[in-house]
C-alpha cells in the first residue's frame, strides 16, 4: 500500500511537470514563430505600428515647418541680393537632384509581391531572397529616363543600397518587407514600355520567379524625400578654379 502510494505521488508529479512544460512550449510557439497566435498579440502589433506611424507623422510635420522657416529666410535674402539669388537657385537644383525634396509628376507604380503559396512555402519570400531583381528594376527605370524613384517610400539616391540583411531587404539602411511598391516619375508610357517588354524585367519576374507584379500608369505620383542627414567624411569639393 505504501509502495503504491509512492508510485501515485511520482505519477502525479510527472503529470504536473508535463503540464507546465506543455504550457511553456505552446506559449513560445505562439509568439514569434507563427502558428496559433493570440488575437490580442496581433492587435498589439497593429496598435504599436499605428503608434509609431503617428509619431513619424508628427516628426515629419515638425521638420517640414522648420525647413519652411529656413527656406523663407533664404528666399528673403535672395530677393535682396542677386548673388545670393543665384546661389539659392543652384542649391534648389542640387537639392532636387540629390533627392532631398518631395517631388511629384506623372509616372508608374509597380507592385511586386510573393506568389500565393501553400502553407509549406508561406514563410519563404522569393522577392526578398532575390533582391537583385529590385536592383534590376531600378536600373531599367533609370535607363528609361526616370527622374525620381522610391521603393517602399525609400528614395533612391546616390548612396542608396539594396541589400539582404537577415530576412529583410535593407534600403537606405532601413529594413523593408514585401509587398514592394516601386514608384517612378518620368514619361509613363516610356517607363511602362521599358518594363513590360517581352523578355524584359517584369516578364522574367513573372515567368521565372512566379512573382505577382502589377504596373499602373499614374497621372500624378508623389515621391517622398531622402530622409537622412548627409555627411561626407572623405570627399571634399574641388574649388571651381581647379575644375
Amino acid at each position: 500500500m505504501k509502495k503504491n502510494g509512492a508510485v501515485i505521488v511520482v505519477g502525479l508529479l510527472a503529470l504536473f511537470i508535463g503540464l507546465i512544460l506543455s504550457i511553456q512550449i505552446s506559449t513560445n510557439a505562439g509568439s514569434d514563430q507563427g502558428g496559433l497566435v493570440p488575437l490580442a498579440k496581433l492587435k498589439g502589433y497593429e496598435v504599436e505600428l499605428n503608434k509609431v506611424k503617428e509619431e513619424k507623422a508628427v516628426a515629419l510635420q515638425q521638420l517640414i515647418d522648420l525647413e519652411k522657416r529656413l527656406t523663407d529666410i533664404e528666399s528673403e535674402k535672395a530677393e535682396e541680393d542677386t548673388f545670393v539669388s543665384g546661389m539659392v537657385s543652384d542649391l534648389e537644383k542640387y537639392r532636387m537632384f540629390s533627392g532631398v525634396v518631395d517631388v511629384q509628376g506623372p509616372g508608374v507604380l509597380i507592385t511586386v509581391n510573393d506568389p500565393v503559396a501553400d502553407k509549406y512555402q508561406e514563410d519563404y519570400s522569393i522577392i526578398t531572397n532575390n533582391f537583385d531583381l529590385l536592383l534590376g528594376l531600378v536600373n531599367r527605370l533609370k535607363e528609361a529616363g526616370a527622374e525620381a524613384i522610391s521603393i517602399n517610400e525609400q528614395r533612391i539616391s546616390n548612396t542608396t543600397e539594396i541589400s539582404l540583411a537577415g530576412s529583410n531587404v535593407n534600403i537606405n539602411g532601413t529594413p523593408t518587407a514585401p509587398p514592394y511598391y516601386i514608384k517612378a516619375i518620368g514619361n509613363p508610357q516610356t517607363l511602362d514600355g521599358a518594363l513590360n517588354l517581352r523578355g524584359g524585367m517584369i516578364y522574367i519576374m513573372k515567368a521565372k520567379y512566379n512573382l505577382v507584379v502589377d504596373t499602373e500608369i499614374k497621372d500624378k505620383i508623389l515621391i517622398g524625400r531622402y530622409n537622412d542627414v548627409i555627411n561626407f567624411k572623405y570627399a571634399e569639393p574641388i574649388p571651381e578654379a581647379k575644375n
Binding site: L19, A40, Y45, V52, I73, K93, N158, T176
Partner: protein, 108 residues
C-alpha cells in the same frame, strides 16, 4: 499517517498551482498566422522607428541652422551666405554635380 497527509497536502498545492498557471496562460481567441506575417509586422515597426530617428536627426540639423540664421548678436547675413554655400557644396557633391577629391583606391 502524518507523512501521508503531508503528501496529499503537497499534491493539492501543486494541482492548484497548475490550474492557476493554466488559467493565466489562456490568451482568449487564437488565430493561425504564418511566421512571415509576424516578421513583416516587426520589420515594418522597426523600419518606422528608424525613419523617426532619421527625421529627428534632420530636425536637429534644421534647428541648428535656424538658430544660426536667427542669431541677432552676429552678422547673420554673412553666416547665411556661407551656410548656403556650404549646403550648395554638400548637395552638389551628393548629387554628383560638383567635382570632388579625396584619398581613394583606383582600379585599372
Amino acid at each position: 499517517m502524518n507523512r501521508r497527509n503531508i503528501l496529499i497536502f503537497l499534491l493539492c498545492v501543486m494541482l492548484g498551482f497548475g490550474i492557476i498557471i493554466q488559467g493565466k496562460a489562456t490568451h482568449g481567441e487564437m488565430l493561425y498566422v504564418s511566421a512571415k506575417t509576424i516578421t513583416d509586422y516587426k520589420t515594418t515597426i522597426e523600419s518606422e522607428k528608424i525613419e523617426i530617428e532619421k527625421t529627428e536627426n534632420l530636425i536637429e540639423k534644421s534647428k541648428k541652422e535656424l538658430a544660426l540664421y536667427e542669431d541677432s548678436s552676429t552678422d547673420n547675413a554673412d553666416l547665411l551666405v556661407s551656410n548656403i554655400e556650404k549646403e550648395k557644396n554638400l548637395y552638389g557633391m551628393f548629387s554628383g554635380g560638383t567635382f570632388t577629391e579625396c584619398s581613394a583606391v583606383q582600379w585599372n
